[in-house]
């Protein structure tokens, strides 16, 4: 059996890469994809611990996270389409209407 810590290390690496994408990129869609990457890293952690402690709760939590990620993707991409229609770009720095 593969040790649980290895899955946790993989998950930590994927999460850090996602954080890097959110912090350094300006393209809204790429930032969104980085967030999906972080969500998946958390899913992997849930499953690793579910196997470790023989609990079903982790798996069901992953199921709910997937449903919520789908809802989030639908609304988020609708927001980006709207932003593109108004600003002709999805650069997140251009969305500064509420900037003081």
């Amino acid at each position: 059996m593969i040790p649980t810590a290895w899955f946790l290390i993989l998950s930590a690496m994927l999460f850090a890469i996602g954080v890097c994408g959110v912090l350094t990129r300006k393209n809204g869609i790429t930032i969104f994809m980085s967030i999906e990457l972080m969500v998946n890293a958390v899913n992997l952690t849930f499953l690793a611990y579910a196997r470790e402690f023989h609990q079903l709760h982790g798996l069901i939590f992953v199921l709910f996270i997937m449903a919520i990620a789908a809802a989030e993707a639908a609304v988020g991409l609708a927001i980006f389409i709207n932003l593109f229609h108004h600003r002709e770009t999805i650069d997140v720095d251009e969305a500064n209407l509420m900037h003081w």
Partner: protein, 170 residues
């Protein structure tokens, strides 16, 4: 032994394609790399004895959600838009901060080895056991998620409809 080989190969695939998502300038390449990364993660789920969730990962994430992303990227023709680089200080802080975060996370997980060995017995979960638990103990969250999905559909329709755009411009 073959289990470990599969783990290391697909872990490398997942990390490399995740790096491509973050570093590549073209969002179409990024989206396709993210699909590859999700496939590698589905293999991880199989290694974790959760074949049902691996199937869901491929169908829902790599299938539905990423097709939605690709659809929007191609609808808006984003692959031709040049992305301006962020300010150097932001670049530096972003790369340095996330690298420090990742390295420290990996260091502490491996140093204190949260759980250094795998469980002794297998815990294979089928769709049946998950379904029974989902509709018995988790029926309220399940219904709440269905309402959330309905709200997401309505929200996406309202946001992208012609009337919403007019209201903002008027």
């Amino acid at each position: 032994m073959i289990e470990f080989a599969v783990f290391f190969f697909f872990a490398a695939v997942a990390v490399i394609f995740a790096l491509v998502v973050v570093l590549h300038r073209n969002p179409v390449v990024g989206a396709l790399s993210l699909v590859a990364s999700f496939f590698a993660l589905a293999v991880m789920y199989v290694l974790l004895d959760a074949p049902f969730l691996a199937a869901l990962q491929v169908i829902v994430y790599a299938g539905a959600i990423m097709v939605l992303f690709l659809f929007v990227i191609m609808l808006l023709n984003l692959q031709y838009q040049r992305e301006e680089p962020t300010r150097p200080i932001q670049q530096f802080l972003g790369y340095f901060g996330s690298a420090a975060f990742g390295v420290s996370l990996v260091y502490y997980i491996s140093k204190y080895a949260v759980i250094a060995s795998g469980p002794k017995t297998r815990f294979v979960t089928s769709a049946k056991t998950i379904g029974i638990r989902l509709f018995e103990a988790y029926i309220l969250p399940f219904e709440m998620v269905s309402i959330l999905l309905l709200a997401a559909i309505v929200g996406a329709l309202v946001l992208t409809s012609k009337a919403a755009g007019k209201q903002v411009t008027e």
